[in-house]
């Protein structure tokens, strides 16, 4: 029975992908994900520099009448920035990228293309609902962490829930595509990129259960008025159970690109296939028992749990350090191909004229600062000096907004040309974009970090704070020079954003030269020397569940679940 079924399957299932264009099967679906992701990003990314300007005493002194355009209410702009950049852009991009990797690496169509479109429609509905709640309805300025009892309008939560449901549908499609490939290719090892996608979506599906629980048990009923009280501490626990895996969900496509594409794009070869897989698995598994490092200042969580999660956070640094070696070695090989002969000259003898490579190396470079700044404020003892200061956004602008985003940009510089079948509109503009991004983010990150050490708090409308122009507020005045350098960084980043979007729109509509150079190295083979149990996903899911239960279970014991905080609207007034 089973045998008869498998006989004709390979004939149906194989696709041959042209290296310099996309098949009909991928162009519309993947193109839609990438382009809608970029549309969602646009309002969000613009708000970033504007907030940096509005927090700078120097800028405000120069332009006292200036306001953030469109969203002049600071916290609305901040909500747009967080929700659009970190949630909608990333998720849509990651799902589109996962479809691409899966189809090309396994050389077969998705399990159910119709389901992929349905998932897309669900996510778009989510995007529209949340965007409406934040930008038009306007009473949803609760930031992208939406901590209850501050409560937004129902569309805000419904939209985010739809986004998550869409990713579950996408994950089902990816898992079934993999299972089909596995059935047709018994005993084969999947390509490393597919291994990364599988690790990422397995982690994601498990981690999102807690945020779904949060949505359905508290946030949605509260915003509709079906319940009047919530439990803020439990909500924060549920949020950060999901919150740290979310961070790695963003990071995974960047890792996949660094491991499976960058070595070939830069002209080298990956050092170790095995440790690539180990890094992916560690990243997925150890993202789960570390989330309390976001809650080190919370009153309802014991010091013991806080210490345990800090130490486990150090474990999750291991895959990043393994990556530093593996990718570093690949880049050394690439550098030697480009004429490097001395010990360290491979560091600068790279293919800097290729924006695909330059952007990714820029991302890797920024990840050094991102990693170390994260180790510092995730530490049990140091967090107390930095928690909720602008050090925290400094950190995730080195990771998410630099390492991840620059790598995504590097990918966009081949994705969009491949979609269109034309070369990138302007290489020079792309290189200038990468340079201004790196420079801008260094100024921004250093400024925010230094201001944070000086005691400037994060996500606060400083321009309207009573101490902003107060000469007697000595600590703030001392730190405010760094807010000015932050604004200069913001200015560079604004230029970078304009260059990025102009170039991508130019590639779509005005680029005339057909694509001739293959910038998209796809490996369709897995290393046959690797043990097959590495791909035992049920086992890894079991490990995740056990580790998560051990790390988070004790927290619930500490918690006298109260459910007694009355909900409040962002204006500070009771909701009803």
């Amino acid at each position: 029975m089973q045998r008869a079924k498998t006989i004709d399957r390979p004939v149906l299932a194989r696709l041959t992908f042209p290296p310099l264009s996309m098949l009909k099967e991928e162009r519309w679906l993947i193109g839609s994900h990438i382009l809608v992701a970029l549309l969602a990003l646009f309002p969000g990314i613009l708000m970033g520099p504007f907030q940096a300007f509005s927090r700078s005493p120097g800028f405000v002194a120069m332009f006292p009448e200036w306001e953030i355009p469109v969203f002049s209410f600071y916290y609305q702009a901040l909500t747009v920035h967080g929700v659009m950049n970190a949630l909608f852009f990333t998720v849509l991009f990651i799902v589109g990228h996962a479809y691409f990797v899966m189809q090309r690496s396994l050389q077969r169509p998705l399990w159910k293309p119709g389901l992929a479109w349905l998932a897309f429609v669900v996510m778009i509905a989510g995007l529209l609902a949340t965007a409406y709640a934040i930008m038009i309805e306007g009473r949803s300025s609760v930031l992208y962490t939406f901590y209850t009892p501050l409560t937004a309008q129902p569309w805000f939560y419904l939209g985010l829930t739809l986004l998550i449901v869409g990713t579950w549908m996408a994950a089902t499609n990816l898992f079934m595509t993999y299972a089909g490939w596995k059935r047709d290719n018994p005993g084969k090892r999947c390509p490393l990129a597919v291994f990364g996608v599988m690790s990422n979506f397995l982690m994601w599906c498990f981690a999102t259960t807690s945020v779904a629980l949060l949505m359905f048990s508290m946030l949605i009923p509260a915003s509709f008025g079906w319940i009047e009280k919530t439990d803020p501490q439990l909500a924060r626990i549920l949020f950060w159970f999901f919150g740290h895996p979310l961070v790695y969900f963003w990071l995974f496509p960047a890792y996949i690109s660094w491991y499976t594409m960058l070595p070939a794009q830069a002209g080298g070869r990956l050092f170790s296939q095995l440790l690539g897989r180990v890094a992916f698995l560690m990243l997925a598994i150890f993202s789960l028992p570390v989330g309390v490092h976001h809650l080190l200042a919370d009153p309802g969580i014991s010091q013991v749990a806080k210490f345990v999660h800090t130490v486990l956070t150090f474990v999750v640094i291991v895959p990043s350090l393994l990556t530093a070696f593996n990718i570093g070695a690949a880049l050394e090989r690439a550098g030697r191909q480009h004429g490097a002969t001395r010990r360290l000259d491979w560091l600068w003898k790279q293919d800097w004229k290729n924006p695909v490579v330059t952007a990714q190396i820029g991302g890797l470079f920024m990840f050094i600062f991102g990693g170390f700044s994260g180790m510092i404020h995730a530490s049990f003892t140091l967090n107390i000096a930095l928690h909720n200061t602008s050090w925290v956004p400094a950190h995730f602008h080195m990771t998410l907004a630099s390492a991840v985003m620059l790598t995504y940009i590097g990918m966009l510089y081949w994705f969009v040309p491949l979609l269109r079948g034309r070369v990138l509109w302007s290489r020079t503009a792309a290189l200038a974009q990468v340079a201004t991004w790196v420079g801008g983010m260094i100024l921004f990150g250093h400024g925010m970090g230094a201001a944070g050490v000086g005691g400037v708090i994060r996500r606060t409308d400083l321009a309207n704070a009573p101490y902003f122009g107060d000469e007697t507020a000595l600590a703030f005045q001392k730190a405010s020079v760094w807010l000015n350098t932050t604004a200069i960084g913001g200015g560079l980043l604004l230029i970078s954003v304009i260059l990025l979007y102009t170039n991508l729109v130019g590639t779509l509509f005005f680029s005339r030269k057909p694509l001739t150079e293959n910038q998209v190295p796809i490996s369709t083979e897995g290393d046959t020397r690797l043990p097959l149990w590495l791909e035992n996903w049920w086992m890894w899911l079991g490990v995740m569940i056990i580790l998560a239960a051990m790390a988070w279970g004790p927290l619930l014991v500490d918690e006298e679940i109260l459910f007694n905080a009355p909900i409040t609207g962002p204006t500070g007034l009771p909701m009803r």
């Binding site: 010091q303 210490f307 003892t381 109260l562």
Partner: protein, 165 residues
Amino acid sequence: MHIDKLERFWMLAIAVVIGSLSAVLLVTAFLFEVRLPTPYEQFDPAEIEETEFAEPGVRHMGGNKYHVHVLAQTWFFTPDEIRIPRGAEVTFFVTSKDVTHGFFIEEHNVNLMLLPGHVARITTHFQKPGTYKILCHEYCGSGHHTMVADLIVEAPSDSDSDEEK
């Protein structure tokens, strides 16, 4: 499963670094008595009038010890001015009446999240006289940035003239 010699060396280095960082953390936490908030007291926020937060403020506990109860709500702290003599051992008990707030004293290691129903507690000393801002560092609605209080650390000479509670 082949792992290159260089890479093995690197993995060993990683293990050593991570191990020593964890050890340093443990040692410094004990050595410098770094204490993070830990579950202390929980109550129903509706019954806040029956707790010590009905009358927030500074209480002299005898000797060099002070207890300070602070109540946070949108968008102010009660009391909004706290006077403490230099060098005293001060324990803060802080909670929120409504949404999530923060309690951050600039230039000092006081950094708490405030949640309704939970009492956040921390003990510290203030060695340098001066006026320090207490800031709410968690977004708590449209007036969040106006949520500021003052902590005044008084040198012994001028605290004599003030009446002590």
